[in-house]
Amino acid sequence: MSEKPKFAMYWAASCGGCEIAVLNIGEKILDVDANFDVAFWPVAMDAKYKDVEEMPDKSILLTLFNGGIRNEENAHMAKLLRQKSQILVSFGSCATEGCVPGLANLSSREEVFAAAYDSITSDTLGIRPQYSYEVPEGTLTLPIFNTIVRTLDQVVDVDYYMPGCPPESHQIGAVIDLVIQVLHGQAELPPKGSVIGAGGSTVCDECGRIRNVKKITKFRRLHEVAEIDPVLCLLEQGILCNGPATRDGCGALCPAVGAPCAGCYGPAQDVVDYGARLMTAVSSVIDSNDPKEIDRILDDIVDPAGTFYRFNLAHSLLHASKTAVS
């Protein structure tokens, strides 16, 4: 057997896009294969949790963990992989910030179940997950569905963070190159806790749109804009764009095609609460000092929590709504 270092990737509460993004790196996947033994990667090869449990501690060099911690299985695997890995990377928005699944933290567990089991299907039997169920062959169990979605670093110690929903393939490629260089003694790892595969500024830095002094008198949702100016800053057109508060690294793909930045790369360096930054920025440039008019302008922001915390709620200062944690 080879002496190549071991690589693992795991998928917790997420959509699977991160896995696709890794496969999207093209030929670079061959470099991964050339330099690593894939020890555990459920989406790509068969493996059992038991196999991981039997590995010696710290025997995996690099684990890319994507997905948030929604249930006890996620938490268990996070702890297990932490134990077995030398470098644990919080990979993608779900693991790092909770991402869209983290918006479930606006609702109580019962509300989440009601939405999932009562409103989608035609049967209204009030069925709920049964955590333990007796069958002739024995007892079947389901992992407990936690009260709130947590990020990976709220459950275990994390070495690096790689933001994005999903992380851009060229950034994944660059990180892989770096790790391989480190393996060959040609580079050094960044300090623990660093954000990797992203920039140090915000999306505006990579956005080519023309920017002026901002004065907003009306917010519009994308479908309400008859014609989007192709070169002017979207925020100046009243379209809520999260670019000013969102870490760069994606290449400003969304604003380039006329879609506002949704904020998937998370907060800029050292920012404590992403939503707070967006709220303060957006409200600061509202062009009115009249309380009533300000209210009228703000009425156009129909879902502030969902807008400003779309990717970040689980990692925000409050983590969740009062309803979710009552």
Partner: protein, 156 residues
């Protein structure tokens, strides 16, 4: 242990008006309940929504933001920005189930020590009526893994 809930309120004050109003309340020996702890900033415009969220997440039951009256800001018009920020934050917090009364904006000039004391007294009573927010406690509860309530419901 007393049954009565005593809220803790964090107050942000402007160096030029409301902090001086608090000074004046002191000098004039105007009484108000001890549930508020003030932080001095240069201007209410310095109040970052992060500070408010931080205070709530660290255990404050409510946050009071005070600044100069509209048109009287010592930095010309920065208090209007505070007003916009607080309004937007209140909307977001409402969606998160946090009562708007828990984040309050009050204008107080340096001369309004009595008014500030009255506002504080009123707010303490309002928040007492709302009950504890106790965010750290809620978060501890939310992350404790235990028997799932739904388990019994369905199995039974």
């Amino acid at each position: 242990m007393s049954e009565k809930f005593e809220p803790i309120i964090i107050g942000f004050t402007c160096n030029w008006c409301s902090y001086r109003a608090a000074d004046l309340a002191g000098t004039a020996r105007v009484k108000y309940p001890p549930n508020i702890r003030l932080i001095r900033l240069m201007c209410s415009g310095r109040v970052d929504p992060t500070f408010i969220l931080k205070a709530l997440s660290e255990g404050a039951d409510a946050v009071l933001i005070t600044g100069c009256h509209p048109g009287e800001c010592h930095y010309i018009e920065q208090n209007y920005k505070t007003m916009r920020r607080v309004k937007l934050l209140q909307r977001t917090l409402a969606q998160m189930g946090i009562e708007p009364e828990r984040v309050k904006l009050v204008w107080a000039s340096a001369a309004q020590g009595v008014m500030l004391a009255q506002e504080i007294t009123k707010m303490v009573e309002e928040v007492r009526a709302l009950g504890p927010l106790n965010w750290p406690g809620r978060m501890r509860e939310a992350t404790i893994i235990g028997e799932h309530p739904a388990v019994e419901e369905v199995v039974a």
